[in-house]
């Protein structure tokens, strides 16, 4: 795949993530994620943060190897390792920002100390180490720029900064393991062990080194340059030793706790554990143990992918899957959650690509990027084509397509018409319901209607029909709101589905599609089957349904419209003959408005 296509794909993932993040900020954690009280730690915390920093350990490991142990042959990997650490920790911080309940309070632990919390220590270590990685990476960006004094200062403090960085990393990688020691009864015994701190840092160091190897291989491939194979195979060999140590400790731990039997118990957790140990331990070890394979880019890539996937799975096991059984709960990440989980690393990858094209990170990099192309005419098509940054057109088009799609995917029910609340019946203002308050939507702006008074003045029982012009089957003088059931807009009064079922029953049709044989009962013509060729309602409902006149359609107008037509129509007519010219005015019924 071409580098620009990879970039487009990453950009798409970032856009999905941005929309997910925006929705999370607007709607809150509960509405956006699949997290529950039983499973409060999900993808963002465990995959992006805990696993994210684990594969970013390359920075301090390479710094230690090159500057403390003076292994000069690893030097080609130092800069990519520092950049990986900076971006890895940056994306962890970004993920955490969206995962804490009130993102705008992310700075609270700086001032409000809770020194009994493991997370307090993790927060400080991550914050400080992120600062350290920024200090370590900025000299690369400032090389050859006009900020020579800043660069000189950064180089001067480089040594101490590096030592602080190594110390901090060691501290918080172990304390991330310690974090899970607080839940001995909840975490599955396959993963719960007092040795978690040591296991966490060992697995992180091994996989983190292989992550640097992977990124260097990828960059060399994209640039069509030979990879620095000597340094890579040396780093991979060291990583293999660390991963071997980790695997040995895991096995020793199982033996020590007498838990070895559980590994082959057949529980799904046990199978996940076997997969994890294969990916994180056995597979990379088997590949990297062969000296010939250590010098092959493909084998190195395979080992790297195994180890990185393995360490992510290890963190997911300890952080999420190990809690499902004791929590008696399932955790189904929402689409928005998955989108942000993928979007943050994608953004980091874009930043990585940008950084390595602008600055000298890899040994095979040439220093400067090509100068921006100058303006030129392009015949016939677009007059000033190169006026643009060449990407603006395409990337903005991608954004225009992706953002609406993400919105619709992440907010289910967006734009779905909420069914308007059914119109409420008039409320009697007295025991006898002599005066009714007509307020269909109960918004407090109603009309007082002297019902008994109207009936009496207009001639007793005789006067009902003009207003109550249609009865529901089996009803007598149905109230307006039964048919005019929406405040605004028409509503069908005829329920086709219910009729199909009841007609089939009445006619004695049987079988799986009894309803399909009912058409000709009501629709008398050959075609088309619509309201026009259907029987009148009264042809069946003659006994139980009174109809003053055939309604013009089977749609009942909105409540507001229907009542205005009925009341105001009569008031207007009576205004002239009764000598009360204001009878038809609005204020007659709506005095307060």
């Amino acid at each position: 795949m071409k580098a620009s296509r990879v970039r487009d794909l990453l950009f798409v993932l970032v856009l999905f993530g941005v929309v997910a993040a925006a929705i999370r900020l607007a709607e809150g954690l509960g509405a956006t994620t699949g997290l529950t009280d039983e499973i409060p730690w999900g993808l963002w915390k465990v995959v992006n943060m805990v696993a994210g920093v684990a594969i970013a350990t390359g920075g301090f490991v390479m710094a230690f190897a090159v500057h403390v142990l003076h292994i000069e042959s690893l030097k080609p990997l130092l800069r990519p390792a520092l950049l990986t650490a900076f971006l890895g920790y940056g994306s962890s911080c970004a993920a955490l920002l969206f995962d804490i309940g009130l993102p705008h309070r992310f700075w609270h632990p700086i001032f409000y100390w809770n020194e009994h919390s493991f997370l307090f220590e993790v927060f400080w270590c991550v914050l400080l180490y992120f600062t350290v990685t920024a200090l370590e990476v900025s000299p690369i960006a400032l090389e050859g720029s006009k900020f020579k004094r800043v660069l000189g200062f950064l180089r001067k403090i480089g040594g101490p900064v590096m030592i602080v960085g190594i110390t901090l990393s060691t501290l918080h990688h172990t304390s991330l393991g310690s974090l899970f020691l607080v839940s001995p009864t909840r975490l599955h015994p396959l993963w719960y062990t007092p040795w978690l701190p040591a296991l966490f840092i060992l697995s992180a160091v091994g996989a983190g080194m292989l992550m640097v190897v992977l990124l260097t291989l990828a960059a060399a491939r994209v640039r069509r340059q030979p990879a620095p194979i000597a340094a890579l195979s040396k780093a991979a060999g060291a990583a293999a030793i660390v991963l071997g140590l980790h695997l040995a400790l895991r096995i020793a731990d199982f033996a020590n706790r007498g838990a070895a039997g559980m590994i082959f118990s057949g529980q799904w957790e046990a199978n996940v554990l076997i997969l994890e140990l294969l990916a994180l331990g056995v597979a990379p070890l088997a590949i990297l143990a062969v000296p010939r394979l250590r010098r092959s880019t493909k084998a190195l890539a395979a080992a790297g992918i195994c180890a990185v996937a393995g360490v992510i799975l290890y963190r997911v096991d300890v952080g999420i899957l190990g809690y499902l059984r004791s929590g008696a709960a399932t955790y189904r990440p929402s689409l928005a959650e998955i989108a942000l989980t993928l979007g943050i690393p994608a953004a980091a990858a874009l930043a990585f690509l940008w950084f390595v094209t602008r600055f000298k990170v890899f040994t095979f990099d040439r220093r400067a990027a090509a100068p921006r192309s100058v303006t030129s005419f392009e015949p016939m098509t677009r007059v000033w084509s190169d006026v643009f940054l060449d990407n603006t057109d395409r990337l903005s088009l991608i954004a225009v397509v992706v953002i609406p799609l993400a919105l619709v995917l992440f907010v289910p029910g967006l734009g779905a018409a909420e069914t308007p609340a059914a119109v409420q019946a008039p409320r009697g203002m007295d025991e006898a319901r002599a005066v009714l308050l007509i307020d269909g939507d109960r918004d407090g702006r109603g009309v007082l209607f002297p019902h008994a008074d109207h009936k009496e003045r207009l001639g007793g029982e005789q006067s009902c029909a003009p207003c109550h012009h249609l009865d529901r089957p089996g009803d007598r003088y149905s109230s307006c709101h039964h048919c005019h059931a929406a405040m605004d807009g028409s509503r069908p009064i005829f329920d086709h589905r219910a009729h199909v079922a009841s007609v089939a029953k009445r006619e004695g049709f049987t079988g799986s599609l009894a309803g399909n044989r009912t058409c000709s009962v009501c629709h008398l013509g050959d075609s088309p089957k619509n309201g026009e060729d259907a029987k009148d309602c009264v042809s069946c409902h003659r006994e139980d349904m009174r109809m003053e006149k055939e309604p013009p359609s089977r749609l009942a107008t909105g409540y507001v419209h229907a009542l205005h037509a009925s009341c105001a129509g009569c008031h207007d007519a009576k205004a002239a003959e009764s000598g009360r010219p204001h009878l038809g005015d609005c204020a007659t019924c709506h005095p307060e408005e």
């Binding site: 005419f377 643009f388 903005s396 225009v400 619709v408 779905a416 018409a417 749609l555």
Partner: protein, 236 residues
């Protein structure tokens, strides 16, 4: 069918409507940026803004230009545009959609006025479609997409009119609404991707030539060189 209608009215509508809004904003942004860059790079910037704005505004309701050529077509075009701008926005049923979906409160057209405007737009639309086919100049300027777009604009108008008069419609109300909503959604997609983008690009299309041809003395020569394929000369 009611599930399909609910989907077309709900998520699918949101999808296409957002696409249209963002797509049109993208056009505005890119064009503005392009103009800015062009003006920024040129040494001579005495662009007669007042005259350009007056010309553009004059074309918004081109009454002055009616009798220059093909007056019937121009009158039909104006009638068509007045209808398809006013009715979809201010139709009483759509005013409810505005307030429900976006909380925007707009005045509504009376049903009678909406009927008149819609019928006017439909008639003018059919005339314009016929003009495109029958008039030799228009036919030579039209591609397949132009016939398609003209027809696509007519579908929601006709189906919407029929849906608001269900008692005399040849289809069920639900079927009409489905056609109406789906064809409107199609228009939202076409809006930023076809010539329909002139709903926002119209001022730019009047602006760009006014500006580009006033830029550098001798710019025309460079264009000529570029057109002859002498790109070196153009870039010099």
């Amino acid at each position: 069918m009611s599930e399909l209608l609910a989907f077309a009215r709900g998520p699918f509508f949101v999808l296409t409507f957002t696409f249209m809004i963002l797509g049109l904003l993208r056009h505005i942004g890119l064009r503005t940026y392009r103009l800015y860059q062009v003006l920024h790079r040129t040494p001579k910037r005495d662009v007669p803004w007042g005259k350009i704005v007056r010309n553009t505004a004059g074309w918004l309701l081109p009454i002055r230009h009616i009798f220059t050529s093909a007056p019937t077509m121009k009158i039909a075009s104006i009638a068509f545009h007045v209808g398809i701008v006013i009715v979809p926005v201010f139709l009483a049923d759509h005013v409810f959609l505005w307030s429900r979906g976006l909380g925007i409160s707009l005045p509504g057209l009376s049903d009678r006025a909406a009927d008149v405007l819609t019928l006017m737009a439909i008639a003018a639309g059919f005339y314009l479609f016929g003009f495109r086919i029958l008039n030799r100049t228009a036919r030579n300027l039209s591609g397949r997409i132009d016939y398609f777009v003209t027809a696509a604009v007519l579908v929601p108008l006709v189906s919407g009119y029929l849906a608001s008069h269900p008692e005399s419609a040849p289809l069920t109300y639900e079927a009409l609404m489905l056609i109406h909503v789906l064809s409107a959604n199609l228009l939202f997609v076409l809006m930023p991707t076809t010539k329909l983008a002139h709903v926002v690009l119209f001022p730019f299309d009047r602006l760009s030539p006014e500006i580009f041809w006033r830029l550098v003395p001798g710019a025309g020569d460079r264009v000529a060189e570029a057109l002859r394929g002498n790109r070196q000369g153009a870039e010099a």
